[in-house]
Every structure is written in structure tokens, then in C-alpha cells.
């Protein structure tokens, strides 16, 4: 009997744990949620929405590629710069339109935007299952997600031309995607923005600055319309109009949207051009869509740079080794070109607001350490000592980036009306001119021809200097125009940044994307 007792005890010891094995091994993360218990509440929906917004401020997934800086470097407004040709060599090559297909900047720009698209897609899939007390709030969230998806696709199609169009989260069997017809991508962008235009609120309270509004959607749609017309049709050879649900978007639709923004949005030009810039003027009444950065996160992690809330353009733009009471130093990227400096009319007050002229301001720094040095830096987002973040300053500069402001809508309006309402065009154009030169300024007269368009282009170049607008303006007038302008800003080495029409101004499809997708993606022309 004793032996039997021993065995009983032993068996209990040995196998006792067995009965509770499933509980013992069943674990949930202690600090994270999993997909199974998320996407349930309005709060979850908002967090999921914020995660899409987050991607707006990503600039350095692979290398450093802020949208505005990359756009400036591609244009005739700036060179790539840095400390030398080996400093961000991918940016350097990009400026020369001879990117390697393996350059990390091309991959980073691509991946960032598709991350935003993935987050928008999963949001749009999951939001149906979430109960909202207020259906209008749900509509607003959906419209914001669609705006952001359209926004990311627009940047993608601008950079790469031929991209896969993905509108849902993909399962393993769907991983191999081919590039969509660019026309379909533009139409999808228009569809998302039009939905946002219809559903988003017009008024964004101060507490919600940064959230997109109806007016942001309209302004972006106008920008998309013009780029589609000029570049999509003119260069990529799209034959159809921008179309949503089989209904073409006409020029008068866009003109109406532009008029509404100008007349009804409550947005207005800031009276003094200089008051558009700096931390004290963020989200001003002229700003229609602005990407939010802050130094408040004050967080440093070089290994996960997208995790900070800072604006990389700032540190990248500063001259190298500056000692100055006002201006801080930076990495010397995107030196502004002499060609841009020359574009400003004498006495244009926007020059000294937009361009830091080192000689004129007696800046003490080391020009010899600045590659492709011009003596000019962009000033709108130039790092200033007064705004310097306390720790990890490189990562945490808090200057917001304005994506689109009323002046742009006015000049787009002028351009749209050039062929059918010259008076209105002149009125919109003059608002921008007079804000710069004063109300007594007599603006040149627009004409319905190339000269009229050139006047608007000149205005856009100086008004938006350093804001990343110029390159896309060049492209939508065709490759010859872009080549002529960009080559005119170029000179002997190291300023030899000449346009390569074979690339159509596009970046290469990242080589790794082609390889991983099993060579289904086709490389853009002009790249090997």
C-alpha cells in the first residue's frame, strides 16, 4: 500500500501541471495590444487615424529625405550640398538625376508613403466594424483617412510615375503587385480628395490644428488637377481627364473649388510676408494644410528617427560650423542656387525672408566645409538659436512645414482663370504681389499666353522659394521647360546638376522592390 501511495504522489507531481497546460502557455503581451483586441472603440479608431497622420512627418526612414528638401534639390532652386559628395551620396546623385536604383532615399520616400497607405487602408477596413455614437464623426475620420491616402498617393505618383495601386491590406497571395496605369492612380487620388472635400468640416478649432479640413482637400485637389493636366497628360501621356466615378472633373469644377476656398474658407493672406514663418506663426490663417512638428517630444533615437516629432529639413539646411548669435549651424544641405537668388526682383522683400545671404548678414561659418557652396541657404526653415531644442537638437527641430497656403490657391486660381477670366486671374495674382510689395504696388498685367503664365511662374518661384513647390511646377510645363531651367542653374563641377529628360524627372523604382516582387515591377526609363 505504501508503494501505491508513493506512486500516487509521484504521478500527481509529474502530471499535475498537465491539466492547466493551456492556461500556463496562453499569454498576452503585457504592454501591447494585439490586432484581435484592437479596432473596437471610437478611441481605437482615433488612435488608428493618428497613426496615419504620423507618417506625414516621416523624413528619414532610409537616409534623409524630407519631401521639401528633396523637391528643392531636384529643382533649379538648390543643389544637394552637405559636407562633400560622399555626404548622403544618394541625395547628391538625385540632384544630378543619376540616382542609383539602390539609393536609400528613393527607397525611403517610397516606403514611407506606402506605410501611410497601409495604415489608411487598414483603418478604412476596420472602421466599418466600429460603433460610433456620432455617425458624422465616423464620416469625418473616414474622410481624413481618405485625404491622407490620396495625399500619399499623389506624392508617390509625382516621384515615381508608375506605382502599384493598393487600396486594401494584402494577404500573402496578393503580395505580387504590378504597377497601375498612372491614370488610375490619379483618378483614385481625385476620388479620395473629392470624398474628403465633401465630408470634411471647414472649420478646424485651434485645439485641432493639424487635422485636415475641407479646404485642405480642395486645395490639394486643385494641385492634383494642375499636375495631372500638365505632367500626367503632357509627359506621362495620360489621355483621359481626371475622373471620379466615371464623371470627369472639369476645369470649372476646380475653379469653383478654388473660388470657394478664396471666398468662403476664412483663410486669408497674412499681411506681412515675414509673419508667415517661425514658431510663433505656425498654423496661421493663410495656412491651409500644414505638417506639424514639435520640439516638445525632445526625444532622441538615431536608430528610429521617424519616432521623433522633429523636422529634419531644419538641421539639414543650416550652413556648416556657424557661429552666430541668431543662426545655428546645420549640415549644409540644399544650398539655394544663384539662379533662384537672381529670380527675385530688386527690392522684393521676400528675398531676405526666404534666403539667408551669408555675405549680406556677415555670417561667421566655414564655407569650405559646405559642398556645392553658394553662400545662400533657405531661410524659412533655417535653424535659429532661439528655437533650438534642448536635447538632441538634430532630431527635434519643431518648425512646422506648410504644405499648401492661400497664396498658392490664389496663384493656382490665377493660372486656372488665365484662359477664361483674365480679370479674375489678375485679381488673384495681384493679391499675392501686393502682399509682398505693398498695396500701392502696380502689378504686371497677365495675358492669356506664355507671358502671362511666365509671370505666374515667376511669382510662384519667389513666393514659394524653399517650400518644395518649384520642381513640380517645372515638370508640369513639360520636360523641355524643366531641362532648360534646371540646366540654366547648373554650372561647372561640383554645380553640374543637369536634367536627364530620359528619366522624365522621375526617381528610380527602388531596386529592392523590383527584386523582392520577383521582377514584376518595371524600372522607370533612364535608370539601369
Amino acid at each position: 500500500m505504501t508503494k501505491i501511495k508513493y506512486f500516487a504522489v509521484t504521478l500527481v507531481l509529474l502530471l499535475g501541471m498537465g491539466s492547466c497546460s493551456q492556461d500556463f502557455l496562453e499569454m498576452e503581451p503585457l504592454t501591447d495590444r494585439v490586432e484581435g483586441n484592437f479596432y473596437k472603440t471610437e478611441k481605437d479608431a482615433f488612435e488608428a487615424l493618428v497613426s496615419i497622420y504620423d507618417v506625414l512627418q516621416w523624413q528619414s526612414s532610409y537616409g534623409y529625405h524630407p519631401w521639401d528638401l528633396v523637391s528643392n534639390v531636384l529643382s533649379d532652386d538648390a543643389f544637394s550640398g552637405g559636407s562633400g559628395p560622399g555626404d548622403r551620396p544618394g541625395l547628391n546623385r538625385m540632384g544630378k538625376f543619376s540616382s542609383y536604383t539602390t539609393d536609400e532615399e528613393a527607397l525611403g520616400l517610397w516606403k514611407d508613403r506606402y506605410s501611410g497607405i497601409y495604415r489608411a487602408n487598414i483603418f478604412l477596413e476596420k472602421i466599418d466594424g466600429i460603433q460610433f455614437k456620432d455617425e458624422a464623426l465616423k464620416d469625418r475620420y473616414i474622410a481624413e483617412a481618405r485625404f491622407l491616402r490620396g495625399y500619399f498617393y499623389f506624392e508617390l505618383v509625382q516621384f515615381y510615375g508608375h506605382v502599384p495601386l493598393i487600396l486594401k491590406t494584402l494577404t500573402t497571395s496578393e503580395y505580387k503587385q504590378s504597377q497601375a496605369n498612372p491614370a488610375d492612380v490619379y483618378n483614385q487620388i481625385a476620388s479620395d480628395l473629392l470624398f474628403a472635400w465633401e465630408k470634411l468640416p471647414g472649420n478646424i478649432s485651434a485645439a485641432e490644428y493639424g487635422r485636415v479640413s475641407k479646404w485642405a482637400a480642395g486645395a490639394m485637389l486643385a494641385r492634383v488637377y494642375l499636375f495631372h493636366k500638365g505632367y500626367g497628360k503632357g509627359v506621362l501621356g495620360i489621355t483621359s481627364d481626371l475622373t471620379v466615378d466615371n464623371v470627369p472633373i472639369t476645369e470649372s469644377n476646380i475653379e469653383q473649388i478654388v473660388d470657394d476656398i478664396i471666398n468662403l474658407s476664412g483663410h486669408a493672406l497674412v499681411p506681412n510676408f515675414a509673419d508667415l514663418w517661425g514658431v510663433n506663426h505656425e498654423n496661421n490663417k493663410e495656412s491651409i494644410f500644414e505638417i506639424q512638428h514639435t520640439d516638445k517630444s525632445n526625444w532622441g533615437d538615431w536608430g528610429w528617427r521617424n519616432g521623433t516629432e522633429g523636422n529634419w529639413t531644419v538641421v539639414m539646411s543650416g550652413f556648416r560650423d556657424v557661429s552666430d548669435p541668431i543662426y545655428d549651424l546645420g549640415w549644409g544641405f540644399q544650398p539655394a542656387s544663384q539662379s533662384l537668388a537672381n529670380e527675385f526682383e530688386p527690392g522684393d522683400p521676400r528675398f531676405s525672408v526666404s534666403i539667408l545671404d551669408a555675405a549680406a548678414e556677415n555670417l561667421v561659418y566655414k564655407p569650405q566645409n559646405c559642398y556645392q557652396h553658394t553662400g545662400y541657404a533657405f531661410k524659412k526653415y533655417y535653424p535659429k538659436k532661439a528655437d533650438k531644442p534642448l536635447s538632441n537638437p538634430d532630431l527635434n527641430w519643431g518648425y512646422n512645414r506648410v504644405v499648401i497656403r492661400l497664396a498658392d490657391v490664389l496663384l493656382m486660381g490665377a493660372e486656372l482663370y488665365l484662359d477664361n477670366d483674365l480679370l479674375k486671374a489678375q485679381g488673384y495674382y495681384e493679391q499675392v504681389r501686393k502682399r509682398a510689395f505693398g498695396q500701392s504696388h502696380v502689378a504686371p498685367t497677365l495675358t492669356n499666353d506664355q507671358n502671362g503664365l511666365d509671370l505666374i511662374y515667376h511669382e510662384r518661384r519667389v513666393e514659394f522659394a524653399g517650400e518644395g513647390i518649384r520642381y513640380w511646377d517645372l515638370l508640369r510645363r513639360g520636360l523641355n521647360y524643366a531641362q532648360q531651367k534646371i540646366d540654366a542653374a547648373s554650372s561647372a563641377s561640383p554645380y553640374d546638376e543637369t536634367f536627364k529628360p530620359a528619366t522624365k524627372g522621375l526617381l528610380p523604382i527602388p531596386q529592392s522592390e523590383i527584386s523582392i516582387s520577383g521582377n514584376i515591377l518595371v524600372q522607370n526609363e533612364g535608370y539601369i
Binding site: 508503494k3 504620423d54 506606402y114
Partner: protein, 1013 residues
Amino acid sequence: MKKTLLTLVLITWGWVLSAQEITVTGTVISASDGIPLPGVSVTVKANPSIGTATGIDGRYSIKVDANATLLFSFVGMETKEMPVNGQTIINVSMVEATQVLDELVVVGYGIQKKSLLTSSVAKVGSDEIAKTNPLRVEQALQGKTAGVQIISNSGQPGDGLTVRIRGIGTNGTSDPIYLVDGMPVGGIDYLNPNDIESVQVLKDASATAIYGARGANGVVLITTKSGSKGKMAVTYDYSFGLQNAWRKVSLLDASEYALIMNESYANDNAAIPFADVASLIDTVGSGTDWLDELFYKNAPVQNHQFSVSGGNDNSSFYSSFSYTTQDGIVAKGKSNYERYTYRINSNHQYGKFGFGNNLSYSNKKNRGIDPNAEFGGPLAKAVNMDPLTPVKYADGTWGVSSYAAQEVVNPVAFLSVLHSDYTENKLVGNVWGELELVKGLKVKSNFSIDYANGNSRTFTPVYDLGGNIKTLVSEASVTENRWFTWQNENTLSYSNQIDLHSFTAMVGMTANKYHHEFVGGRKTDLLFDDFEHAWINNGTDEESYRAWGGADEHALLSYFARVNYNFNEKYLLEAVLRADGSSNFGSNNRFGYFPAFSAGWILSKEDFLQGFTPLSFLKVRAGWGRNGNEAIGAFKYTSIIGSGSKYTFGSDEVITVGSNPSGIPNPDLKWETSEQYNIGIDSRFFNERLNFTLDLYNKKTKDLLVVAPIPGYIGNAAPTVNGGTVTNKGVELELGYKTSINKLDVDVSLSGAYNKNEVTDINNAEGKIYGAGLAVGMSNICMMQEGFPIAYFWGYKTAGVFQNEAQILSYISSDSTVIQPNAKPGDLIWVDKNDDGKIDDNDRMLIGNPYPDFTAGLNVNLAYRNFDFNMFWYGAFGQDIFDGTRRYDLPMSNWNASVLDRWTGEGTSNSNPRVTIADPNKNYVNVSDFYVHNGSYLRLKNLTLGYTIPTTISQKVKIQRMRVFMSVSNLLTFTSYKGFDPEIGAKSALDVGIDRNIYPQSRTFMFGVNLNF
């Protein structure tokens, strides 16, 4: 499961009843000192399968036939034969032998006679460990056991070692599992090597299958010392050493630097930076030797170790204390290690009930620099910093380079602002009880804990060292980690013998749970400006307060069974089955089953070999088994919702949390499985003087956990999938010879291992997994690809240097395309692998393998009268090193002196290209064989000479035994590699052999004394 077990128990119980013999008991002592010997094997000569082993008190009890003859055998002792002749008490004293006859080895959940093993198990005993005075256990294993490759991750004190058993089978965690007295522990650096009785390495799957889902990378079983009956033994050991770099890398001095820089710019048709070299040299002389500034000459290392052990008939104990300090040879004051250890082990036996406990406490404190990093490493800064900048200017401020940039700043100044340390307290212990229910049937229960607490503290002062190395505000931060693991293990074992049939059966279960949590905080703008006062409360910026924290858990539940059978100790069989459940896997695949089978045949016991006198012992064995690797991190099977996304809203800039899936989930994820075949021969010749062991293995790891890259347009991080296979095939041999010539004892052993690694399958579109690169623009130096060794170097092959324009124009593809039309004379010739007339990623190929083909260790022990001598050589052959020491992306970085052999005109060099800053041919940008060097080396790891003071003298001062010794480690190194050190560990499975200016191994001269009271 339950039913099977019950049946097994009932069957085995039935066999107990058949035993009918007399019981012989006695005590076995050592003839030399009269101390009882535990673990002595007692067997019946006519039927060696009847046997037992002495307990910790040297006592044994065995039931045998009244006319039997008993054999007493023990490691290092002459086997003794004692006829029973009806006696019931037989006491034996054993004399030391020069030959090892039959060892006992620890196997998973048990002890086995080495002669009866059917699997490949290597053992290193305490005497061997003691010979080289190692500071870490792994060092003692290096080169001692064939097939166990041990590479120092760096020479930094306290830095880990990479241990690879039979090659590398996975792109994930390939560390073996370490069990200390049965408790799995993450690492073994907390152990005082002197506390170790033996280390056994279970190499093949038939040995490791009993550890199921954690055994795929091999198992290291460590047994700590226990006391023995008799007089209390007290020992004290002290050693002191001075360490220095074994070599210095040769860099350019000031004038050479100016020459090369001028030439580089001139080659680009750019203005030269140093127009007046002569006056420059007048000012700076040969310039600053940054390496001289960074190395700490005669860095001290010392070790105190004190132990007491003893016991009586029922109980024994072992207790020890040790204190070790080591300064690093680089970065004085910023790279050092300090460790206290304390241990108490005890064992008790009361009749059929035994119990014991082991408890160890350790406290270690590390300060460290980044030992192999292109950005953060001080050595990388020293190597790349221009020699023109002084350490300090005349006014006492730090020298700031006008040439180097980014992370390359004054390394001495950099060290002065590095302030951090890490302190870890660790408690590992277990308590066990064992009861013999009936003869041969034992139940054992073991409860273990592993508790550790780690604290890392950092102080960042305000500094600006130029480049991007600067901070504007001082900061104190601290992070506290706490780990706790408990394990409960229960086994039931039964052994018996019926006639010539002998068998042992064991079943058991184990439950293991791990919990980790951490909390940390920081605050800036400190009241004080030093490390001592760098506590969070001294921060003054209230806005800067930050706190962080988190926790994670892991659980493992397993059942296992093993059966050993032998016939007359001639034919041996073993079968193992383990079922493992892990919380790392989804409910689709929670449990896995791991079987193994092996068999052995002791040929030397066969009649047909009896007449062959040179042969003492010969066994052949073969086995097959399956293992798993569950170390893939938690919750990879589901999609975690990360809250790291943030965005700022509102005029008040409110940072708002966003959440999204952090990756694509894979609910079908399961462990990696490794299957291994092993064939081995164990043999001894010439009256046991010569021993020879040979093993052949073929190990295939399947279902590798790979993060197969997915296109970026999917929009989220790739999932972990089971998608790869790696095979390792190899040969291991161990050869030993022991003899005594007059008074000279000679013991020579040689171990060698050849391993061939090949990735046989990768389940993604490309058949590739991209590995590490250098963050300076050289991507994917390491590559994992079907048909190649894991982590091979993937790059361009060069075919010399273009000597002239004509050669460039004649370098054409088969369709007559000039392949490098933009090259200049002096540029490297790239091999156009696919003959498409251009050089791109498709031309990259195998240019090197970071793993050695062959590793070998040679150990020579000599003893003559009172002198003892140890010499240990270790060599690794056939591996390559990728030289990633220079920051080519910063044009003004200094160069290794080998640049002086560059191409400067036709015929000057056909291997080293011209120097250029713009580098249009990508001579220095491309990942190419230009950077790949033979990393083979042969190293005299240890040389020790000891002298034992004659007892007649030492006993006058009440010392039983007193030995003094001196030793040198790394005295000689033979290698063609020119970097700091050819020993470069793995940063991860796909980041291997890349030299980013590795912290080198030290050459240490050590003096010491061993005292026994």
C-alpha cells in the same frame, strides 16, 4: 500520455521483484589523502551492467551475487578489482592513474558512464578549467572540445563570447542553452569558473533531444562543485596580471596623411588641401598617434578566490567567494569589469531520501565602450581621426578636427564625456529532493529560481566635440531591469538488470516561467556636473522628466521520457521523446514533439578483438534525433498593435498617440526544427595511453524563422515565417596521449573540427536574406542565400587595377561593350559576372566566408617533480574578415598605412587602387573583395608554468600545498590579417566577421598563487 506513463511504471515495478542477491556496502577513499570519493563507479566484473556509484560520502551499496567480483572505477584512478567472497562490507582505497578508464558524464536529467554513451558528449573537468585561470567559463572551453567554436566578441572586459556548437544552423539565435545544475540560465558570465566541477557539451541530437524545443543549438550542462566527506578543505587562489594590446594597427602619420590627402584631391583635379606640407610638418611633427592615446598600457587584472568544503557521513558542503577586477586595454577608466561571487552548495542523504541545494549570488559591474562599431566606437574614431589635430590645444581645451566629420571626433575627448555603468545582481539557486521508492525506482523533484536585477546609469554632460557629437544640456538617466525565472522539474527513473539485459527508464516533466520588467527615467539640466551626482533628482528641468517601463513573459511546459538498454555492456540502445509547449507560438502550433534514437556497439568486448592487444577500447555509435529552437521572441504569431506612432495636434502642440499593427502577422508560425545524424567512434589504445574519438555529423535545420523581406508597398514590417533550411556537415576528432617518462608526466591532446555550412533553401522569391552592412553606405555585406554558406560576404570581385587607358578600353564584355568606360587608370577592375557589359548588383557574388572551415586546439600538459606546465594553442582556419575599419564616406578620414601601397602609376600596384575623394569608379564604395582578408590565425592562447613548493617547506607555515605560477595569454598570434585582431565575433547571425575596429584581445602576463590549507 498519462496512460502510457502508468503502464510504464507498472511494468517496471514488476521487474523489481526478480532481484535476489546479497548486499555489499562500503566506502571508497582516495589512497593519497584518505578523502572519500563520490561518483566512483561500482560494477560487477562479469556483468558490468550491474552497477552503482558512490554517494557524496564515498559510500556505496550494491546487490550482487556472493561470488561476484566488483570493479571500482573512477576518473583519474586505477580501476580496482575486489572479489566479494561473501563479504558484505568492502572498503576500497583507490590510487591515482595516469589513464582515464571510465568516466561518468552528466547527460540531460542523469549521469551516464562515458563508455556506455551512444551520443556525442564532450566533457571538461575542473582540473582542466583550473589550468588556464580563466575569468569566464567559456574561455575554459575554447579549443578543448572538437566542434565547439568559441570566439570572443571583443577583448573588452566582461564582453561575451560567441559559442557555436557544430556550426551555425540558424539566422536567429544560435547560442546553445546553458543549464547550471539543471536550471536554464541566459548566460554564464555570473559563474566563478572555480566553482565548476564539470562542463559537458551535448553535441548531437540524440543527446540534446531531451531538451526538445531548446536543444537545436546544442546544450551545455554545468555542474557546480560539492564538498566531500572528511577534513575541511580550504583553498585560496590569487592572481594578478598586466594586460596590453598584442599589436598595434599602423596608421598614417601627419606627413603621410597630408601626402595621401593631397594626392586624393589632385586625382580629382580639385585643389589640394595641404599646399605647404613642409610647414605643416614643422608645426605638428608626426602628428597625434590616436591609438597611443587610447590604449591603456599595463591594464591590471586580478582575481581572489576563496573556498571551503567538507562533509560528514550524511552531509557535505562547498562554499566559495571570489572577487575579480579587470581593466580594459582600451579607454582607461571607461572599460572595466568587477565581479563578486558567492556560493553555497550542500548535499544531504538520509537513508533513501536525499536532498540538496545550490545557491549562488553574483554582483558585477561593467563599464564599457562600443567594442565593434563604425559610428560609436572610440577605436573607430581613433583610426579615422586625422593625425593633424592635437589631443589638446595649448590652452587646455580639446582638439577639434577641421578635417574629420560627423561621428569621427577626438576620441580622447569623447572618452572624457562617456559616463555610464551597468550593475547586475544575480541569484541562482535550486533545491532538490530525491527518494528511492523501491530499489532502482527514484523520484526526484527540483525547484530552481534565477533572479537578476540590472541597473544601468548614464550621465551625459554638456559637450561639443565637433562633428555631430554634442549635447546642449546635461542629463541623468537610469534604467532598472528585473528578471525572474522559476522552474519546477520532476522525474521518475527506474533502472534494473535482468541477466545480461540492463536498462534505465526515465519520465519527467518541467514547467518554466520567465518574467521580465523594466523601469527607467531621466531628467536634464543637472545641479552637478559629474557622474557621481548624476541622479535624476539632481535634474532641474521639470519639463524634461521622462519615465519608461514595460514587462514581458515566457512560459514553457514539457514532458519527456528516455529509455536506455544495453546487453552485457556491449550492445547499447537509447530512445528519447520530448513534448514541448511554448508560449512563443500560436495555438495552431503550441506543442512540438522531439524524438531521438541512438545505438552503440562496444567492439572491444567482442571475442574476435580480444587478441588484438594494442586496442584497449573500441566503440562505434550512431544516432538520429530532432530538436527545436523556440527562441524567436514572443508574439511573432500575432500582430502587435504598437503605440509608437505619434502626431502633434493643436496650437498647444499636444503629442497624440496613434496606434497601428507593428507588423504583418503569421498565425502559423512554429519553431525551427533541427535533425541530425551522428556517427562516432570512441577508442583507446596502448594500455589506455592513446585515445581517439571521431565523429561525423549531418545536421539539417529546417523551418528557419526568417523575416522574409516583402515589398515595401505592402506597407508594414514583414512577418516572421518558417522559410529556410541550413545544413551543417562536419568531422570532429579528438586525440589524446598520456604517458610518464621517468618523472615527466606528459599529457597531450589535440582536437580538430571541420564544418561545412550551406544554406539549402530560403523560402522567398529571391532565395536570399540580406544581412548586415556598414551603416556608411555599404549595404548587405553579409548575405544568406541558397547554395552558399550562411552570412557569406556578398560583393564585387576585382580583377586587378587598370594600368592604362588601353586596358580600360579593352576590358569588354562578349558583346564588345566597354564595361567600365568611365574608369581611370588606377581604378579597380570589376568582374562582370553576368557578362552584360555593366557593373551592378547582379554582379555581386561570394567574396568570402566569415566562418572557419577548420578549428583546432592543442593542449600540452607537462609535469616534472614540482613543476607543471601548460601550453594551449588555438587556431581557426579558412575564415575571412571584411575590413570595415575606414569611414570612406568621410573623405578626410585617416587611412591604414597599407594605403601607401596604392596605385600611383603604371605598374605600381595591381591590387590597391588609386586614392580619390570623388571615387567615380566606386573603388572604395563598392562592397568588394578589396576589403576581404584571410582571417585565419593560430594563437598561443595560454602558457603557464607552475611550481609547487615542497610540502616540507609549506607545512611549516600550516599550508598543505602551495603553488605559484606565471602565465601568459595570447603570447603569440600568427595571422596575415592586419587589423586589431583576427578574432571577430558575431553581432548577430547575419552580421559576422565585419571588422569595425574591433576591441582587440589582450596579451596578459599573469602571476598567481594557489594555497590549500
